[in-house]
Amino acid sequence: MSHDHDGGFAHPAPFKLLLSVFIALVLLTILTLALSSVDLGLMGAFGFWIAMSIASFKAALVMLFFMHMYWDKPFNVLVFLSSTLFVILFIGLTLTDTSHYKNTIDEYPRQPDTSTMAP
């Protein structure tokens, strides 16, 4: 970040920009909601990925402008985004494993659990 002595290191985001980001976020939320109501099965597996893509786009908007990533040091951005890498790693390897031994769980006879059902 360049350091100019007049403005200090603050980068106030323009009010209009923030407002338009908010409006975009609201519209995207409505879009997700609408898609989930309308499609119902037609989208199939894609529905999930579309919803996730929209959520990620919203997240990107929040991060870029609300969280000032747009003006922030690249190192900070790298630090934060690297966390998602580790989350993906965590999910990915664990899921790979469980999906491979899932069949051994499915074939195991489980007693229906009634012990904790309230009367």
Partner: protein, 360 residues
């Protein structure tokens, strides 16, 4: 080369130290950069903290899609949507608060931080309605899951009965009520003892926590209007029923609304033939593991709610310092840091909303 010079005279060429620069920093910018990196790293730990729940969610959703299909109809997506809007708006006010802190306009910061806090409380209010409604119906974590369809009436004569709300809601609301009363009383005392800042702060806090009741009333009103809520559910289930009715036209079509406010539906269900059409949620149709969805739901939203509460505490600290007029263009770090934290809470919700409420 004059290497031996007193350390404390070494910074004369730097611009003035502000009041808030800690002794071990050379200048305001180093302090700000340190804080900023620190908060980003903290957010990294937060992301990884939540990651465990996302792993649990992903695994159970991939391995047991059926329990997610069965369970999500219990979540009202319009209430989720309302909460998303509230949280997005609070993010906006927070971002604006940061902007004014950067410009050194403390008065503006006060109002926008207050707005953020009201939204945060309102979010919790809506959440309280959602939770208590589920508790009434026995929609709990895996081991305690004991769904019983229908309206839960509070025993006659209780306050909950008079208000037409859940008993649990009354219990939950006691806490914010006490907080509000506490702040209101303290505001009066501070006023009398001539502490205008403290008085103003307490009034603001009372208003901020009051947002809880706004949210709760909005949620309750929605529940009343939709006759027990379940906006998402009735719609989805109705369409599914229509679909089932087409494919199984030889069977008695059941056009009964799916909210099953009476127990007769259960009997009807058992009387059905072997190949019964989908009827909406009935206790005996569930996979026995359906409660795991709600375990994950409660863990995720519960942990998120705890973060909201912590956020309110941080915001209160920012509010107080704004009232004292601490912020200026070279010292606004705390507002920025709390803002980043708040946006992260928003970010997590942005993912939770489709993951929990909008399962197809």
């Amino acid at each position: 080369m004059a290497v031996v010079e007193p350390e404390h005279g070494a910074h004369d060429d730097h611009h003035d130290h502000g009041d808030f620069i800690a002794h071990h920093f050379d200048n305001a910018e180093q302090q700000f950069d340190s804080g900023k990196l620190g908060i980003w790293l903290f957010l990294v730990t937060e992301v990884l903290f939540f990651s465990g729940l996302f792993v649990a969610y992903t695994l159970y959703r991939v391995l047991h899609p059926e329990i997610f299909d069965q369970a999500h109809v219990f979540l009202d997506k319009y209430l989720g949507f309302l909460n998303t809007l509230v949280l997005l708006f609070s993010s906006l006010t927070m971002a604006v608060a940061v902007r004014y802190a950067q410009l050194g306009k403390n008065g503006h910061v006060v109002w926008y931080v207050l707005g953020t806090m009201v939204c945060a409380s309102a979010f919790l209010g809506v959440k309280a309605i959602e939770y208590t409604h589920k508790w009434d119906q026995g929609i709990l974590v895996r081991s305690a899951f004991d769904y019983h369809a229908g309206h839960h009436e509070a025993p006659a004569g209780t306050l909950a009965h008079t208000l037409g709300v859940s008993e649990y809601l009354i219990y939950l609301s006691v806490i914010p009520l006490l907080v509000i009363i506490g702040f209101a009383v303290y505001a009066g005392i501070a006023k009398l003892t001539d502490k205008p800042n403290a008085s103003f702060f307490s009034v603001c806090m009372a208003i901020a926590v009051g947002g809880y009741f706004v949210g709760a009333m909005a949620g309750h009103f929605y529940m009343e209007v939709t006759d027990g809520g379940f906006g998402g559910r009735s719609e989805a289930a109705a369409e599914m029923m229509a679909y089932e009715n087409e494919t199984h036209s030889d069977h008695e079509p059941t056009n009964k609304p799916v909210d099953h406010h009476d127990e007769s539906a259960v009997d009807q269900q058992t009387a059905e033939s072997k190949v019964a059409p989908y009827q909406g949620p009935q206790p005996d149709e569930f996979d026995q593991d359906i409660g795991i969805f709600f375990s994950i739901y409660y863990c995720m939203t519960g942990l998120h709610a705890i973060h909201i509460i912590a956020g309110i505490a941080f915001l209160a600290w920012i509010l107080w310092r704004s009232i004292l007029g601490h912020w200026r263009s070279d010292y606004f770090g705390p507002v920025d840091y709390v803002g980043l934290y708040w946006h992260l809470v928003d970010l997590i919700w942005i993912y939770l909303f489709p993951l929990l409420y909008l399962i197809d």
